[in-house]
Amino acid sequence: MMKPVAVLSDNERFPLIDDLGFLKELRQDSCAPAFNFGSGDRLTSEKLAQINAYAGRVQAQQFWRQGSQPDWLPDFLSWCRATVPAYRSHSCDFLQLPSLRREQIAGRPWKYVSDECNPDEMLVYNTSGSTGAPMDVLFDAVSQAAWIVQLEAILAADGISLEGGQERVSICLVCNQESTLTYASLSTYLRGAGVLKINLNPADWRKPEDRSDYLQKYDPEILTGDPFTFLTLAEMKPPIRPKALVSSAMTLHDGLRRRLEKQFGCPVYDIYSLTECRMIAVARQAGIYRLIRPDLYVEILHSDKDEAMPDGERGEITVTGGINPFLPLIRYRTGDYGCLRYENAVPHLFDLSGRAPVVFVGSDGSFINNVDISRAMCEFMLAGFKLHQCRDRSLEFVGWGSAAAADIRRVLTHIFGKDCRLEVKIEAADNGESKKVSYSSEFTEADIKT
């Protein structure tokens, strides 16, 4: 896996923002963490116009009707056939088209890039593979910035808007990992507002109390993170007043949601999203996810054949469309399962599985984020692996592929601590199960020592 390296100048990262004073302030603040990366939205005037146009479409577009396909689908399929190498031989009949799996894209991501794309505009993000093998996802500045537009649409439904503008931090992505890329950035779309990615691990800060002070000082409009990170944040009790918390990556249970809503005095959204297509749906209560993007057609397919399940029946969530010309999706199987039902003509996902939070506990009782494990496993030639933790904190690891058991043991000991008993097995990558990454644990959220 190629590790990302910060190579651009700030002017290249923010071609339309002349005054970078706020960015410097965010980086040089006396409470700021030791940011280890740089990143920008790279929006030019042309790209900004495209994202503004997308924002207009998001407001105006309607969902497809139950039992029918979206109006935009025929044009999208024609465009894919005409410009995307992997789709050239596709027929016009959507229901006859083969589904697409993660492994197909991971093996040849360039086959899914439209001929209309300028390679110089390509951005690459390597997903660590919390539910599958690592994969390079290709996208561009517009599809990256579309995340904010999608967020705005969710907030607008509850009458919340992003203020943005210079001197204001609009979004803070909060992590709680052993290590991760952290940076201060700006959003051109939000008129120069600050965007932060921080890690609550005290090792990233001069003093542990700086975490709370820094958050208080810049008081982000929106905080994003996973449920475990929000739990840690809640324990820190930072005196901040966000407009909303946006939880993703794994299911947010109602108990934690209520606690967060009460403590921070704002709504908490649980977003169902994938790196491959960004946001899909949002939940304001556990288990019911409202679809938010009429530009992303969601079907429920049979797990073994490319047939749509009857309305309301459970199957694999499959998506078509999106706005990323570097990865237009046709019947992409997400690997997640659920059912689709319509409420007031808006499609909703129910019984979503595959995102259950998995609690791992280190030998000192601290919470271990499985992102750290996925990231560490990227260095091995494994097609997939399975990790289970028992109640006595012992670990059972099975890897498929080629890696020395001693090396795996060394990495897991580093993450979990010396006192966790560890059983490591490496097997040949030749069965159907070998492509998956799966985590399981006998611990629950109640067992975490924060």
Partner: protein, 189 residues
């Protein structure tokens, strides 16, 4: 109704091409056959006007030897009695330009020795004349011409090469650090 020959019959005819028709064309004063004179003779014969003035000016020096040789071979093909029975207005610039497109890609003698190239030539000439070979429907004839069409095959090869070049470019770009300086900016999926 005009009786159209079968493709096999035309192939057989092409393969019987006399050596005189594939002798070196005269270009810049060197060679054995005056292609332009040959073409005009064939035209006079088709029009049944043996003393008519020459209608076609080939300006041989501006054409490649391969193209002139293919023109000469076509002259032989047109000696088949079928072509004397049909209108000859198709024997025009459009026809010549097709020959110019395909000639550089095929070794000249193959038109009369190789079964597939002879079939290609037979089908190309019949298509230009507006007739379908005996025993075939027009769709079948088009499909079969596509199957042996050198220009089409070259276009496919060029397209494949372009696709490979594009894939190489994208893969190179994927390895660029500039492209990789794109952390998942806003949220965890």
């Amino acid at each position: 109704m005009t009786e159209v020959p079968t493709i096999s019959e035309l192939i057989h005819h092409i393969k019987r091409c006399p050596a005189e028709f594939i002798a070196a064309p005269v270009r810049r004063g060197k060679g054995e056959v005056y292609s332009e004179a040959l073409v005009n003779d064939v035209l006079r014969r088709l029009m049944q006007q043996p003393t008519a003035p020459g209608k076609v000016a080939l300006t041989a020096d501006r054409r490649s030897a391969a193209e002139l040789l293919l023109i000469q071979i076509c002259c032989w093909v047109l000696t088949h009695p079928f072509f004397a029975r049909i209108d000859n207005s198709w024997f025009n610039e459009v026809f010549w330009s097709q020959l110019a497109a395909v000639a550089p890609h095929v070794k000249s003698e193959l038109w009369v020795t190789d079964e597939q190239r002879a079939e290609e030539l037979a089908r190309m000439i019949l298509k230009c004349s507006g007739y379908v070979p005996a025993g075939e429907t027009s769709d079948e004839a088009l499909d079969r011409f596509d199957a042996v069409n050198t220009v089409k095959r070259i276009k496919v090869i060029e397209k494949t090469a372009a696709a490979e070049e594009r894939a190489k470019l994208l893969r190179r770009q994927m390895a660029e650090q500039r492209a990789r300086e794109a952390a998942n900016v806003y949220g965890r999926e």
